[in-house]
Amino acid sequence: MTQAKKSTNTGPLLIIAAPGLVYLLINNYIPMLGIIIAFKNVDFGKGILNSDWCGLKNFEFLFKTNDAYIMIRNTLLYNLVFIILGTVCAIMIAILMYEVVTSFCSKVFQAGLILPSLISMVVVSYIVYAFLNTETGFINTSILKPLGVEPINWYAEAKYWPFILVIVQIWKTAGYSSIIYIAAIAGIDPSIYEAARIDGAGKVRQIFCITLPQLKPTVVIMVLLAIGHIFSSDFGLFYQVPMNSGSIYNATQTIDTYVYRALMQLGDIGMSSAAGVFQSIVGFVLVLGANYFVRRVDPDSALF
């Protein structure tokens, strides 16, 4: 009987899936053909389709530079920290949100969740500047001066920036990410908690034994997706927040900022496409690997 069901429901299910699939085809897959631009020496006199192929030449600029190591290292490390720290913070916020029952408090906290994500990185960079600029910034005038410490030229010292950027990123995205976990927790059957409570389990026990395991599929998706983008970075965070200061490149140069700066004069469409393809392929391979690993440990949680 199950077999008969299998074949009869495929049709209707495909119809239901159709609008979404059509959109993906048009919005995502057809333009994906544009990836050929990364492998062409585009001459608009001939048009994109008729331009000459040039193999991997457009990819060279990413590697034939001393900055290659720095930019790849920075991109990878920052993303790793963002994934780990970001997930922990988002889950923490989501779990704690459920403890707040007073409607006024919870309303205020929820508003606080999305507020940072509404402010664009450009504006954020001005706020950071308000804190860190040498002459009039908060930290120098209101904190360091009273303590008798010499003002620090923040935008010239690379060593502070890993901390600054991580703080800014977590500030901007933790609330937004926690919304996803809040929704996931909302879907957990309350009777499980009831049963645990009756058995005498306290809050903390409940969190570790019920909530966290139930959140596993969500965490897996979020982490796998983040791994897929592990070679990409938020341009606003790494270019605008540091105010494009050259002295701190060691801590703020990522693949995306390098590509932007390199192509400012050249405007080469093949090279910028190549950079994107490179980032995508690396991410893709890593996700395949990670997904394979997850599938072995917990097949249900795997992406596909």
């Binding site: 609008p19 959109y23 994906m32 631009i37 704690l96 937004y176 919304i179 996803i180 909302a186 059957d189």
Partner: protein, 298 residues
């Protein structure tokens, strides 16, 4: 739904409130600075930087922006319209795609999962998308150009909804409906959607925010000022300002301009966020009901 019993629980609850309060203050503080700075006199900003308690307050930034009030309100209307329509349409097709993917007895569920996921990683870039939308679909200078490209459905949302359907809606419900002879459409609309309020609200919120914050679609596809959304309008204005007051303008612009740049920048940030700040409390009713309180009944 979690009742407090032991003192350990009470400590935990107190910790939660304290921690979240701190976080909320951190979230609001920069925004407070933005608002205060937008009401500060430009001279005061240049001499003393941004301050929570500035020397001189002034409305000059808003007077400057008010001169373009009609343009700003028009942009609000466009943004609100695009966000509302886009979010509604998006929620529909996202959930429709997620449903079959969540059914364990659907032959192509893994294929679809891969197809959806792949789009999150690879992209052809703006040039091929632009060529397609403008030459094949003629979307240039239409409102559809603000709704359809990119934001109408995100693979991420699809996967989230799929997960919710898979893990949070008991399959027993679906099976009993099938036994009763219900077709897939009926199951989808009568069972899946009503029982997935938390995730519906979530993707609605995320999509809504994405539409509201978007300024890129208008940058690429729209040239008619009447159709600019608020974020796009503000980015253009900010860029113009930046360009005029930077040293670069020397070669191109022959007349000097006097604008309270810093204060205006902050006032632009306020203007961009205002409708959401005003409208959010109304939306929150649904959020609290749907999400935090929980909606699945065994």
């Amino acid at each position: 739904m979690h009742s407090t019993n032991t003192s350990g629980d009470r400590t935990f609850k107190t910790f939660a409130i304290v921690f979240l309060s701190l976080l909320t203050v951190c979230a609001f503080l920069p925004f407070l600075l933005i608002v205060v700075t937008s009401f500060t006199s430009e001279k005061s900003i240049v001499e003393n930087g941004y301050k929570f308690l500035p020397d001189r307050l002034s409305f000059e930034a808003y007077t400057f922006m008010l001169a373009q009030a009609s343009v700003i309100f028009r942009a609000y209307a466009v943004s609100i319209g695009v966000t509302a329509v886009g979010t509604a349409a998006s929620m529909l097709i996202t959930t429709m795609l997620a449903y079959p993917m969540s059914r364990a007895d659907f032959k192509y569920r893994n294929v679809l999962a891969f197809v959806v996921f792949f789009t999150l990683l690879f992209s052809g870039g703006i040039v091929p998308s632009y060529i397609m939308w403008t030459r094949a679909f003629h979307l240039r200078d239409t409102y559809l150009a603000l709704i359809i490209p990119t934001y109408l459905m995100s693979g991420f949302n699809v996967l989230m909804v799929r997960n919710y359907y898979k893990f949070n809606i008991p399959s027993a419900l679906i099976e009993s409906a099938q036994i009763d002879g219900a077709g897939e459409f009926l199951i989808f609309f009568k069972i899946m959607i009503p029982l997935s309020v938390p995730v519906n609200v979530t993707i609605g919120l995320l999509t809504g925010l994405a539409y509201w914050n978007d300024w890129i679609n208008a940058l690429y596809y729209i040239s008619k000022p009447q159709m600019f959304g608020i974020q796009n309008l503000l980015i253009r204005m900010m860029n113009n300002l930046q360009f005029l007051t930077s040293g670069q303008a020397n070669g191109l612009v022959n007349v000097a301009i006097d604008i309270p740049t810093n204060a205006v920048r902050m006032s632009m940030a306020v203007i961009g966020v205002l409708p959401i700040v005003i409208g959010y409390p109304f939306l929150q009713k649904y959020l609290t009901k749907g999400v935090v309180v929980g909606a699945v009944k065994g």
